[in-house]
């Protein structure tokens, strides 16, 4: 067993002991949010860093999953655990459907459509009162439990959330580093070339959008069972902005970079005690600065280094 793998397993074991360390509810909530953003930003990384699609609709799938899970638990009286696969499935289906319709368009249009779709979903959540209970949302959701043990506090909830996060990350990691991942990188770099070599670009893109949306949907479902309420604010633009920062700074296409950035950008604003508005201002400044200086993130810098090494070697 390689040293790297050993280190990762040790780290995971350590994470599982966090709830037992007596941290405050606040700290554990931050830990939960860190898990959530790990899944969301890794999903966006898959879609953007590998699939080459700047999709701003991630938050809509997360929200669709949240509402599906919440409504099924409240209206259909299902066990919360049972609603999660459906939340993911519905989110994935909607994602594939919307993507299929908009992938025929140019990339400009795709980004805009994804953004507008996200806004539209939030409008629907707010205004289709008959279904979603409107702006007040759906309070009193049941919490996740196994037998009699209820995952009510953030500390307790951390366990199922962490487990789901680790499984999702493993799934995404495997996808990115498999041949599918390599094909995606090819599509991202030069789609016509890939097509001329027999690669079904559309199918690959729909796959990543579906997977990413599905995982986000399940995460959304889990999250609202801990909050015990689902309302339109679950699809706030704030989530999109945060995800973007994490992927851009970490470097699109870099698994560890984005994972690291998601941890940093979850913890840092809390540590600095920034108000939500200032946090967003900071994110905006970082985004602008990144675009002016290192648009390819840290991953791009490494690629440039490799290129220069080769040039000198072959000169």
């Amino acid at each position: 067993m390689s040293l790297r793998l050993l280190a990762i397993l040790a780290g995971i074991a350590a994470l599982y002991t966090l709830p037992l360390c007596g941290f405050s509810e606040y700290v554990m909530t931050v830990a939960v949010v860190a898990c959530v953003f790990a899944v969301l930003s890794c999903g966006l990384n898959l879609v953007y860093g590998y699939g080459g699609l700047l999709s701003l609709a991630q938050v809509a799938f997360w929200g669709i999953g949240a509402y599906t899970a919440g409504l099924m638990a409240m209206d259909l009286k299902w066990n919360p655990w049972a609603t999660l696969p459906f939340a993911g499935l519905l989110a994935a289906t909607v994602g594939v459907f919307v993507a299929y319709a908009s992938l025929r368009l140019s990339r400009h249009s795709f980004a805009i459509v994804s953004l507008v779709f996200a806004l539209l979903m939030q409008l629907v959540a707010r205004d289709w009162v008959g279904l979603t209970r409107g702006a007040l949302g759906l309070p009193g959701l049941p919490q996740l439990a196994i037998g009699g043990y209820v995952f009510d506090s953030a500390a307790r909830f951390f366990w199922p959330m962490l487990s789901f996060t680790l499984v999702s990350l493993a799934l995404l990691y495997r996808l990115m580093h498999s041949r599918i991942g390599r094909t995606l990188l090819a599509i991202r770099q030069n789609e016509p070339l890939a097509q001329s070599h027999g690669v079904d670009a559309l199918a690959h893109r729909l796959l990543v959008i579906g997977v990413s949306a599905g995982l986000s949907g399940i995460a959304g479902g889990m999250f609202v069972f801990q909050l015990t309420i689902v309302d339109p604010s679950i699809m706030d633009f704030y989530y999109t902005e945060s995800m973007l920062i994490m992927v851009i700074v970490g470097g699109p296409g870099s698994f560890w970079g984005v994972l690291g950035a998601s941890a940093v950008f979850t913890v840092l604003p809390e540590a600095l005690r920034l108000t939500p508005e200032l946090r967003m201002v900071l994110y905006g400044v970082v985004l602008v600065a990144a675009m002016l200086t290192v648009p390819a993130g840290f991953g791009g810098i490494l690629a440039k280094r490799r290129e220069n090494r080769w040039r000198t070697q072959l000169a």
Partner: protein, 291 residues
């Protein structure tokens, strides 16, 4: 059918539609000339409205000088915007410019939220709520004057685009960038003017609409999304198409809101956009030359 009510709605719709048009045309112009989708467009509109509020309440400026001043300031901000941020971005990797303007939008909106709070502000001019009565309809002076400003902006924009050389250059670049460069048009100058005009239009819209609607830091977001929807419906790069789509949208929204529900009114722009994208991806008036 109460015709007075109908006409009232139509007038209101035209007023807001006119400003949708100015915003959308500015967006379209910037896209056409620089190939950049300006995700901060709505925030410049918001800043215009904020500036209007402050000039009216703290500096006690009159309505007419206020609108003129805000527009000029908008032009200046546009100049800075291009000079400092958009310099080398034209025509390049579009995601970069998208994220840059998105980030800028975040900074402006949240900065405004932090500094001015989310409390809606009422911009009051010396005309207050005075109105004229035309055939049983009550049209506030603010709406009337706003329409006048919009009409002036349309005329000036038309003159610049169709009667000046640099305007011609802008249209040329929007239609066929490579050819325009070959012919010797200096892209940076043209780009700068396009941005200046676009942002000035945003500022003007903000200033003219501030006394009519409330002013909040988040007002830019929804307005901008409507503008995006309009540009898509009208067709990317088609400035005239954007204008027509905008006026139509303004009226349709007003009618839906007045007769059915506000919810439908808000959603119609997006639904229309999605329909256009599905069935006529180039937009209703798009020429298919550039997307």
């Amino acid at each position: 059918m109460n015709t007075t009510y109908l006409l009232q709605l139509v007038i209101n719709g035209l007023v807001i539609g006119a400003f949708y048009a100015l915003l959308a045309m500015g967006l379209s112009l910037i896209f056409g000339v620089l190939e950049i989708v300006n995700f901060a467009h709505g925030e410049f509109y918001m800043l215009g409205a904020m500036a209007a509020f402050f000039l009216l309440s703290h500096v006690q400026l009159g309505y007419w000088p206020m609108v003129a001043a805000v527009t000029v300031m908008g032009a200046g901000v546009g100049w800075l915007f291009h000079r400092l941020l958009l310099g080398g971005m034209a025509g390049r990797n579009f995601e970069r410019s998208l994220l840059l303007t998105l980030g800028l939008g975040m900074v402006l909106q949240n900065g405004a939220l932090y500094l001015f709070t989310a409390t809606p502000k009422l911009a009051r001019t010396e005309y207050g709520m005075q109105a004229v009565v035309i055939a049983d309809m009550r049209v506030t002076l603010m709406r009337l004057f706003a329409l006048a400003w919009a009409a002036l902006a349309f005329v000036l924009l038309y003159l610049v685009l169709y009667r000046t050389r640099i305007g011609q250059a802008m249209r040329a670049v929007a239609e066929n960038r490579e050819a325009a460069l070959v012919v010797g048009i200096r892209p940076e100058r043209v780009a700068r003017l396009a941005v200046v005009i676009g942002i000035a239009l945003c500022a003007l819209s903000g200033a003219a609409l501030a006394p009519i609607y409330t002013v909040t830091p988040t007002m830019g977001l929804i307005f901008a999304f409507k503008a995006f929807a309009i540009v898509v419906i009208g067709g990317f790069g088609s400035i005239g198409g954007a204008a027509i789509a905008a006026l139509a949208l303004g009226v349709v929204e007003a009618l839906l809101g007045g007769y059915l529900s506000l919810i439908l009114a808000d959603g119609v722009a997006f639904v229309a956009m999605i329909l256009v994208l599905l069935f006529r991806p180039l937009g209703l008036f798009g020429t298919g030359v550039r997307v």
